[in-house]
């Protein structure tokens, strides 16, 4: 019998779930040990920005994903794209996501407690 280590999130019975989403540590697989604060999905009109307050007082680790204007699939947003623009930046108070993709589309964000020194 193999031994595994799992640490469930608050309110979850570690012995009653096998869904990785219910765990802070799920040692059945490798984990990226960043600590999630918030996540959400926002719909943003073309040419507009969405401001998501995190109020951490420092620059946190964040990821943003958004719909491609050409395929409708989802991509990690970073600084440059050759076919349709999404942008984001983060400061000590907010995450700001900008849609310049040509139509109203959705973006999903993840904000972590982990700071960017």
């Amino acid at each position: 019998m193999s031994i595994i280590a799992r640490v469930s999130l608050p309110g979850i019975d570690a012995l009653g779930s096998t869904d990785p989403r219910d765990f802070a540590l799920f040692a059945d697989s490798d984990n990226i040990l960043i600590k999630e604060k918030a996540r959400g999905t926002v719909s943003i009109a073309d040419g507009y920005n969405e401001t998501i307050a995190h109020n951490l007082g420092y620059f946190p680790h964040v990821y943003v994903w958004a719909q491609s204007p050409t395929s409708g699939r989802w991509r990690l947003v970073n600084g440059y794209t050759i076919n349709g623009s999404w942008r984001f930046y983060v400061n000590e108070t907010n995450l700001i996501i900008g849609n310049r993709s040509g139509a109203t589309r959705s973006a999903t964000y993840f904000i972590f407690y982990d700071d960017i020194p």
């Binding site: 608050p10 540590l25 999630e36 604060k37 989802w74 990690l76 794209t81 993840f110």
Partner: protein, 137 residues
């Protein structure tokens, strides 16, 4: 019974760190905060880029759009993430400045890797590594 599982960072007393107010940055892991778990990882090796773009796909069949990271290794040993070129930040498109451009996308069934060739570039091969997380987009 509920409890807390926590490992503090080097030089930080875990019991002190658990005193209120808790700073999550004091911990390597704390059971109160979720992490990203890698469900699947894989490689596509020696994939030939012959089109503009050439698209490679991998079925994940998760039934939802997953969060994933991927990396593309070009023949000049430059490894990039989504939305990046294989050149030295000096320009783009001419083949003399590098090989191409990498885009990674997902829907509820597949991952798609699109590799663009720079103008005038010959066919070339890339390696792609991907990590799929349990996180739903």
């Amino acid at each position: 019974m509920s409890g807390i599982f926590a490992i503090s960072k080097s030089g930080i007393d875990v019991f002190d760190a658990l005193e209120s107010p808790v700073d999550p940055n004091d911990f390597i892991i704390h059971s109160g905060y979720s992490t990203f778990k890698i469900l699947v990882q894989g490689k596509l090796l020696n994939q030939t880029v012959s089109g503009q773009p050439t698209t490679f796909s991998v079925a994940h069949n998760l039934g939802y759009i997953p969060n994933f990271y991927s990396f593309c290794k070009f023949p000049d040993d430059k490894v990039v993430m989504n939305g990046e070129f294989s050149y030295d930040f000096t320009g783009h498109y001419p083949a003399s400045n590098g090989y191409g451009y990498f885009v990674a996308e997902a829907d509820s069934t597949y991952l798609y890797f699109l590799v663009y060739r720079n103008d005038g570039a010959s066919n070339f091969n890339v390696n792609i590594k991907y990590f799929i997380f349990e996180v739903v987009l």
